[in-house]
Assembly symmetry: C2
Homo-oligomer: 404 residues x 2
């Protein structure tokens, strides 16, 4: 793990309470360094914490929601200058930066942010042989951040996403909206036509069953994108210049039984509720299923949320997505996934989990077994993926022993 | 049937092609008059048709969508002055006005509209003993208009609904938006996070299965309300002054398997596809299930659309709902329905229709049998309602012999 050069104040330790079990480090060649750098208030590799960075203090909310209960996870392969745009909203929170690609590259983080940074060497060191299950050269590596976080909530955002504006021209605090989505219930069992009934000025409409008005715990908040929409390569090719300019002022629960394409670029979730199912799969360059990392997580998460009675919201907040990726490159990456997608969706739409699976972990293990059994017939890749799902759970248990 | 005094031009007959089978009129005491007034180009009771009414011609679109394929059905108990506000949008279309309450009251229709008007005497005359299945003193009587229409599409709107404005201040042509919703496919089998993918500037996002991108036929377009929201009496009592001011710029498909509260006050549907399931039930003052007329239709329609693979959309267009009804009166009307609602929803959420039901009519008949069998245990009212569902189908078949 790497960090900035500013000495770590004692107060920062509330953000950094990773505990790795001894058994875990015995298989990790440089585990002791990782342990030290994370948990010791005088870390070897340093830890940046500059809350009074120039020009930022006045715009930072004095008491931001869930400051001590939420980590922001950012996968990146470059300097994080984009954080300047987010400073008023992100600075009070702790960042977990997962460096993608070549570990020799230095990721520069603007001053004033409290963060920990993991590169590939760190991931290898911490996970040992299991590190192969965390994708490389792909933003799917972000899920390593979910493993090492110890917070109740996660917000993950891509480094080409900027602050969008609402129709009045006001900057959108995406994180605040995600938190609001996560802290209010969902309504997966009946659709409310005025959308989020818990929002100020809205409610359940006539005909909505009273027994369902308490709602369900919200596990996921999926945000959207103005400017560059998250299109697949064929759609990008057909509509290279299409931009999303429509601000839809709504948050809604994806109903039970319905599946949706969950993009990982602007996403928040309750890690305690659903973190164990938020594995982004095997999607790096050496794998055939690239660009389906978040979709894989979406399908797994939705099946399990439906089984557990948790809610998944989509809609607000918007971020400004700046970068239209090269469609021809994406087409090369996606073609296998596009081919398999139909089988995968059919599988997930027909999957049922048994009543004996009463925790997310039990659900996820059962799901991996069904993936092996049913999707394994489509391609051997899915057998490897089913194994990786099990490895993910093993790693989760080792890094989060108190949760099980 | 009644109408205005302007002589009926020959061209109007395209709107008026009701044909009642002889067997039907043999049981209808004044059937011959109804037959004459509807089908004869020189009707006994007259038919208003004034397309060049003062001040209207310039604002009427020259070639409105589906002019010859859509009827506007309006249940009312008073003068239809509200039509003045809708003139630019409604005038090219044919209106079917179903008079609610005392037949002695004269309903005044502003000049320039092409309409037919049915009061209770007409309904009794046309349906004979079956007329008891059409609710009285309740806007549920609107479904009589669906029976007698011969058009492919229906738009129904309440007489206290006015033209809303979009955020730019432009008047919303609700009918045009409904038509657009009905003429473009739905996406019931997978949720698209950018909402309606067929809308200009939108598409299916990454991860949306390609096999589902052709969509499904759209059966229903459910529009929303600015100003007075459609709340039940308890919510009205708790929030008497809450008004809906949020314009959500979206149309979306209610996913397969999800139920929603469908209000009848701003609703369009493909009568050919789903008209036979659009019965508004027994909900008049003599019945215990008042204010659940549209909800009953919603539940039946959604189960059948899911079975048939049809789509149901909700969202745009908005109308301006002007009238907050008295919550204490509504509470008296609703309390039985609120009590039963939980059982009803549970019933519909668990209903399955057999594979042998391959038409909407077969589905509706099977559904009525299940209502009798399962909801009949909740209260004898549902046995009467199941009978009424069968009567509705009989009446449909008699009035629409060519459809079966």
């Amino acid at each position: 793990m790497h960090g900035g050069t500013t000495p770590l104040p004692t107060s920062t330790c509330q953000y950094v309470r990773l505990t790795f079990p001894p058994s875990f480090f015995s298989s990790s060649p440089l585990g002791s360094r990782a342990l030290h750098s994370v948990c010791d208030p005088t870390p070897i590799s340093g830890f940046r914490h500059s809350p009074m960075a120039a020009g930022s203090s006045s715009s930072v909310p004095s008491d931001p929601l869930l400051r001590d209960e939420l980590d922001i996870v950012i996968p990146t392969a470059r300097n994080l200058d984009f954080l300047e745009a987010w400073r008023p909203f992100f600075q009070p929170y702790h960042l977990i930066i997962v460096q993608d690609g070549n570990s020799k590259n230095t990721i520069s983080v603007p001053g004033g942010f409290d963060y920990e940074l993991y590169d590939r060497n760190d991931i290898d060191r911490i996970l040992g042989p299991r590190a192969a299950r965390i994708s490389f050269k792909d933003s799917a590596c972000r899920c390593f951040g979910y493993l090492v976080s110890k917070k109740k909530y996660i917000f993950t955002v891509d480094d080409d996403c900027f602050v969008a504006k609402d129709p009045s021209g006001k900057q959108i605090n995406a994180l605040e909206q995600h938190i609001r989505n996560l802290l209010t219930p969902s309504t997966p069992f009946f659709f409310n036509t005025l959308y989020d009934p818990y929002r100020l000025g809205a409610d359940f409409v006539r005909g909505y069953p009273f027994s369902l008005r308490e709602g369900s715990p919200t596990a996921v908040s999926h945000g959207l994108w103005l400017n560059v929409p998250d299109y697949d390569a064929p759609t990008q090719l057909v509509k290279p210049n299409e931009r999303n300019t429509r601000y839809v002022d709504a948050v809604l629960t994806v109903p039970k039984g319905a599946f949706f394409p969950m993009s990982g670029m602007n996403l928040a979730f309750n890690r305690e509720l659903i973190g164990q199912a938020m594995y982004f799969g095997l999607t790096d360059d050496s794998q055939p299923n690239v660009r389906y990392d978040d979709m894989w997580a979406a399908w797994c998460v939705k099946v399990i949320c439906d089984h557990m009675g948790f809610g998944v919201k989509t809609g607000l907040p918007y971020i400004w997505n700046s970068k239209a990726r090269t469609p021809l490159v994406n087409l090369r990456k996606e073609h296998e996934g596009i081919y398999w997608q139909e089988d995968i969706v059919h599988f997930f739409q027909s999957v049922t989990l048994s009543k004996t699976s009463v925790t997310v972990q039990e659900c996820y293990i059962e799901l991996s077994q069904q993936v092996r059994e049913k999707l394994g017939k489509v391609d051997a890749y899915f057998i490897k993926l089913a194994d990786a799902m099990m490895t993910w759970i093993e790693a989760w248990n080792e890094l989060n022993p108190s949760e099980n």
